[in-house]
Amino acid sequence: MKVSFNINGEQKTVEVSDGNSPLLWAIRDGVGLKGTKFGCGKAACGACTIHVDGNAVRSCSFPVRMAEGKEITTIEGLSNDGVLHPVQQAWMDEVVPQCGYCQPGFMMATAAMLDKIPNPTDEDIDNNIINVCRCGTYYRMRKAIHRAAELNTKKNNSESTQ
């Protein structure tokens, strides 16, 4: 079957033999975007987190057939015209990654959270960002999430006064 979706602003169609196969495979092998990572394949680690219509989903557990007509954003599409997303900027400011493998998933989960909870408390972070980092960068991530929230608020304020 053919599945068409918009990914990072571009219209793409992938051909799959099984509509239930993971969207992650279509993104990595069909579209060729390798930023989204395969960790566990069991919806347990969050390394494969992307946005579908603005919501964080774990693409290893998202059937590709459900992507038909949807708006998909991956880590490659998080920045806008070369301008870093506040989450990307905060991640650099706080030098979060160690090996880096889990980080795209964390950043996508964080970006989705900030859309819904612009100023998250530590408890909001604990409840909503439950991805796994084997290198244990959680402490730096927490700082980066608060920093991203600040940057995001500043960005939104300056956009609304323009």
Binding site: N20, S21, K42, S61, A112
Partner: protein, 209 residues
Amino acid sequence: MKKNTILFTMITFLLIGIITIGSSFSDNDFAIDQENNPLTAPHFDENESKAAFDKMMTVLEHKRCVNCHPSGAIPRQGEDSHLHNFDVKRGEAGQGLAAYSCNTCHSDQNNDYSGVPGAPHWSLAPEEMAWEGKTRIEIATQMMDSKRNGGRSHEDIMHHLTEHELVLWAWNPGVDAEGNPREKPPVPKDEYIQAVKQWIELGAVIPSE
């Protein structure tokens, strides 16, 4: 002449009967009599009702149902009904949290690739419908109490229990993350559906023990 007298007497009795019934029961009374006092219904068979109840409750008490009717803020999962991994929470609407909802991982069908179960409307039952740790009589009492069941009538409950895709998922529970099939309820689906209908048709009588 004799024939006419008999006919007249019959009509008189019939009219008196109709008037008497009409004045003793309003529509409401009749509905309450049917719904709340089924023991008085002529077709009520206590053994039949109890057997249907037990068959239905054997399903409703099964982990495939109770795991998503937890007593706390965290769903249960697996054959041992452990707390859902990853600190997953109920959230306000029973669909998880703002940025981490049930649909972050669960879709409208079982996913054999990831082993994540799925069905339409995947979500938790509301807290008033917590079944975990309750007896079958407590579960049934709660389920049929319109103050706690979202104002559902017996018929609404019957439709929910026998037609809702999420309820019927219990007989199509897919495989777990290791590829092992999940256990189904111990009663076949058709028998369960028949038992629910029969129990409700017989007045939804909850046995005393």
